[in-house]
Amino acid sequence: MMDITEIEEQAALDKIKSGKRLDGRDLKKFRDIKVETGVAKKAEGSARVTFGDSKVIVGVKFGVGHPFPDTPDEGILMVNAELGPMASPNFESGPPGKEATELSRVIDRGLRESEALPLEDLCIEEGEEVWKVMVDIHILDHDGNLMDASALGAIAALMEAKIPGYEDGKVLREEKHDFKIRRTPIACTVAKVGDRYIIDPSLVEEEIVDGMVTVTWTEEELCSLQKRGNGGFKKDELIEIFELAREKSDELRKIIE
């Protein structure tokens, strides 16, 4: 006997095979996406992003700290994700697990490899003090595709962020200086189901896909890849996925511009 989850999974699978989705979407269509910025008053930048019923909030805080020894004249980027028990009955309290760690590291690499942040402008005193840009992703409600929602939230929060002043060892948060992002890396996850590709998988779809690839594109270049889940991809499939992700990430970019 199948339980309710299995029945739903089977239905989702059948739908996709017929070229549609359980929620009526086309295979290559996003759910309703909403991006609101300035939603966390104490953050220097923030964004709440919804992809259908998935809900993510991202806050950017600036702080001052020691630079890393190998980059004494550069600011520091930190990305952290909390996938706590609020977002899903399957999550537990405690330090970030494998899933939250992957989430934050993929987004971190997208930002870092694309050189989206002007880290070299964030040095206060070489070898002594630099700005730390701390991006915290907080998952509120999990209905799938947290990766794309979180990455979009991160870049949206960074785009609206203002950097505080700094004087005599004190961060002056009432001052708000410009902080310019150079590029907008956008993550787009493409999943394979049989011989079909879908984007923006819902939670139930994530359970049935054969594999996923999260592709991060800037305006011009591919800057990060992460195959996720258990399945495998042939090389030609991957090339197709990269191009599809490019097209769809342009759609996402328009939302936040």
Binding site: K41, K42, S46, D53, I57, G84, M86, P95, D136, D141
Partner: protein, 238 residues
């Protein structure tokens, strides 16, 4: 405590409120899909969301109570909710607030109907400008009702306090920082029972009476806002 700061002038506070006024409120129920119930509450610059899961089986089993369910609270500040980024994870303060929140909410829920079960309440503060535990509890209470958990009444919370020797309602950040007393309470406005009570500062019984009076009035106004939000969801879902 800086002496020069004037928190009160001609009976008006720094944001123009009178001594018995609450900050502007906003409330919403049913904001999440995965949780069994959810709620949002804002009071001025302080905002929180809450999600309720359960009643569901408590693990590990040896913690189950044979005759009644338990209610567990997790209270957390998001890292970006405060001036200097807060390290993720439970602080000592957060643990304590989790515990007093359990005390504030448990008595209003008919836990005897759910032996061996747990009801889990998760509260996240999105933005902190004083009164965070009250705002989080207000969201949690909405979430419990939204989850359809049988309750003796809504729990509504707000703080009174003392600034410049004057009892006032609902301190905001600057008032809290330079204030003399902070007195957060939560109550079941239907039974007039105060289920959360904490106080820091130096005061006496008489002044306490005045501050409690203010806070009780505040809770009643909070309750109206909570009911409004629940009613709206109820109507939307019809």
């Amino acid at each position: 405590m800086s002496k020069d700061k004037k928190l009160l002038k001609d009976g008006k506070r720094i944001d123009g409120r009178g001594i018995g006024d609450l900050r502007e409120m906003e409330a919403e129920a049913g904001i999440f899909k995965r949780a069994d119930g959810s709620g949002y509450f804002r009071m001025g610059g302080t905002e929180a969301v809450a999600a309720v899961f359960g009643p569901r089986e408590l693990h590990p089993k040896h913690r189950q109570k044979p005759k009644r369910g338990i209610l567990q609270c997790r209270y957390n500040l998001t890292p970006f909710s405060v001036e200097d980024r807060k390290r993720p994870g439970p602080s000592r303060r957060g643990k304590e607030i989790g515990k007093v929140s359990e005390g504030a909410l448990s008595s209003t829920v008919f836990l005897e109907e759910f032996p061996t079960a747990t009801i889990d309440v998760y509260m996240e503060v999105i933005s902190a400008d004083a009164g965070t535990r009250c705002v989080a509890l207000n969201a949690a209470s909405i979430a419990l009702a939204d989850a359809g958990v049988p309750m003796r009444g809504l729990i509504s919370a707000c703080a009174a306090g003392k600034i410049e020797d004057t009892p006032v309602l609902d301190l905001k950040g600057e008032e809290d920082k330079d204030g003399q007393v902070d007195l957060p309470i939560a109550m079941n406005v239907d039974t007039d029972e105060i289920t959360l009570l904490q106080m820091d500062g130096m005061t006496d019984t008489e002044e306490m009476d005045e501050m409690l009076e203010l806070a009780i009035k505040g809770c009643k106004k909070v309750a109206e806002k909570q009911r409004e939000a629940l009613m709206k969801t109820f109507e939307d879902s019809r």
